[in-house]
Amino acid sequence: MFGTFTEIERKIINDKRLSREDGIKLFSCNELSWLGALADYVRKKKCGDIVYYNVNCHVNLTNICTSLCKFCAFGREENAKGAYAMSVDEVIAVVEDAMNDPNMSGLHIVSGLHPSWTFEKYLEIISILHKKFPNLYIKGFTGVEITHFAKISGKPIKNVLFELKEAGLQAIAGGGAEILSDRVRNLLCPKKATATEWLEVAEVAHSIGIKTNASMLYGHIETLEERVDHLIKLRDLQDKTGGFQTFIPFPFLPKNTVLGKEVKQTSMWDDLRTMAISRLMLDNFKNIKAYWVMLTVPVAQVALNFGANDIDGTIHKETILHDAGATSPRSLKEDEIIKIIHDIGRVPAACDCNFNILRLIN
């Protein structure tokens, strides 16, 4: 039934690493249920039946951004319509509102690259949040933002990360990796951190004990080979440091972006195969995330059977992707997430930003 793919299947069953060629071959495979079954086999062996989720709140400090990447519908110039930059009090108000949920456990903070904010301003926000809400974990900033902080402060990456850690930051977000290819980045996001810089932030963070996430934005102008190369770059770094916690494949949402006219949204088919292939290629990642905001809830639920073991969180109020026309809700209730996971016979586990289990829901 599976023809030339039996060799790949054998490798997977015997815990052998897949090569670049294997990855490219998998992307040419239409046997979606076979791909899913293999990814699910690996997921089960590695992670069992637990599905991780967070009761969390997203905070986007500002949408004013110097980078203005072509795939983004969130970032805008300072005087553009809808531009905002939150004051410290406004940030606190958002978090206080989120704290109405008694299970609220942490924050996810990512933002535009504001042209005039100093690094100290970001440090201050983290420090205040950490003091005011000592029980909330703080995951924040992508490799792109950390690179930006190093540039605006003139400090080395390592010092930036140390200071943020001292202020209360516990993990780095996985965004901004996009496609780790200079060709793609020059076309889509020439002004922000390069592939090398993004990887450097992750490597330095890992070296000083800060865990990070990783991601891939696919379904725009990249080739399938570039997707595979991206996964291998992450895998190579993970071999070296072991500091990546979860991998998040992001399907590109074209609406309201510069690319929107040329690029159509990915199909569920592509989303599920990319999920499965990510699980199979990233043999040294424990967790793969089905980010429901981008995938939509139905696809995210099915993706849990295509290699994913993490469904992200309740979010409180998502903004970045809803600017890009995401049709999913802006937040989920915890009992909705629990039901999505229970319905497929798996075990929901509320966790913090370092995948420590806070509550197991049987």
């Binding site: 039934m1 249920s33 079954a37 569920m268 059977n305 497929i344």
Partner: protein, 363 residues
């Protein structure tokens, strides 16, 4: 131990494509191994239709939404006097037909409507004649058994007489809708006034005996139990053994928005997981059906596309203008192009085949 043996037997039967009994099907459902079901269902699909996935260029016409049945499951119907109510008269149908005539490659007109409290049987016969005269080469797939039973009640003619008159007027096949869930317990709650299970099955049996083919369906995800779903499928399979007149099976996940049933029982739209599981399980249980249709209007196109890897071999059609399910909050756009269907099917690794109402290849 007995249960463990049971599931192993059921899994083996599914793998080999052997007939599943009710217990086997329940065990496979509870086993919840979605991708195993997919693998078995896909193998059965490929035995029956190889790499082909069928679609049709069709146009839906819904004659009226004024209904005497008022099923709590439905968001399309309204009562006489409601300002949302409409009924197409022969001039309206002329307009639609004039527009439809320009549709390239049209194979089928699909007519399904509410049970109008006053329109006589003759109204429907005249519509069919009007369509047939205007489009002599196009197949007419019209009426569900629920409508046929209503015609019989309205006209005091028996089912066979009704069907014969409609065949003479020009219908070529019957729709599969209105089956919902066969269980009396469920029908009393979701659709108490309309044709019951025996009547539905009897219309199909009579039609098949008269040489008219039909589809079959199930509406799930409301108040039915899993056992009731499986019993429903087995009743369809039994009739198919007897007549061989069913062409395709369609699954309708219940769309609760704007329905009384949804409100009263606080029902949420069932998940994609369940949709795909039921597609695969239906493929495996209905071993004597040639085709399983992934009806994209109800499933949404992403799930319908994915259903092709879970045993479906038919993506229904281009549809034109569908109103019944959109009244219940379906967000899928109202019609699609052949080019788009080709893309969806090709991406799944299958070969798109345009066909007519009888699965004859076109083009």
């Amino acid at each position: 131990m007995i249960i463990k043996n049971g599931i192993n037997i059921a899994r083996e039967k599914a793998y080999l494509g052997e007939r599943l009994n009710k217990e086997d099907a329940l065990r496979l459902y509870e086993d919840n191994d979605l991708l195993y079901l997919a693998k078995c269902a896909r193998a059965m699909k490929e035995c029956k239709s190889g790499k082909k996935v069928f679609y049709i260029v069709n146009r839906h016409i819904n004659l009226t939404n004024i209904c005497s049945s008022n099923c709590p499951l439905c968001a399309f119907q309204c009562r006489a006097g409601d300002n949302r109510g409409y009924t197409l008269e022969s001039e309206d149908i002329d307009k639609i037909l004039a527009e439809v005539k320009n549709l390239k490659d049209l194979s089928e007109i699909h007519i399904v409507s509410a049970l109008h409290p006053e329109k006589p049987f003759e109204y429907y016969v005249d519509v069919i004649k009007q369509v047939k005269t205007s489009l002599p080469d196009v197949n007419i797939r019209a009426f569900t058994p629920v409508e046929i039973v209503n015609f019989s009640r309205l006209s005091s003619k028996n089912i066979k007489e009704i069907l014969e008159i409609l065949i003479t007027a020009g219908i070529n096949s019957l729709l599969g809708g209105g089956a919902e869930i066969f269980s009396d317990r469920v029908r009393k709650i979701i659709c108490p006034k309309k044709a019951n299970a025996e009547e539905w099955l009897n219309v199909m049996k009579t039609a098949h005996q008269l040489g008219i083919k039909s589809n079959a369906s199930m509406m799930y995800g409301h108040i039915e139990t899993i056992e009731e779903r499986i019993e429903h499928l087995i009743r369809l399979r039994n009739l198919q053994d007897e007549t061989g007149g069913f062409q395709a099976f369609l699954m309708f996940p219940f769309h609760p928005l704007n329905t009384e049933l949804g409100k009263e029982y606080n029902i949420k739209r069932i998940g994609a997981w369940e949709d795909l599981k039921m597609i695969a399980l239906s493929r495996l249980i209905l071993d004597n059906f040639d085709h399983i249709k992934a009806f994209w209007v109800m499933l949404t196109m992403p799930i319908a596309q994915l259903a092709l890897t879970f045993g479906a071999d038919d993506l229904d059609g281009t549809i034109g203008e569908e109103q019944i399910i959109h009244a219940a909050g379906s967000k899928e756009f109202k019609g699609i192009t052949k080019k788009y269907l080709h893309k969806i099917i090709t991406e799944s690794g299958y070969e798109p085949v345009e066909c007519d109402s009888f699965y004859n290849y076109k083009g």
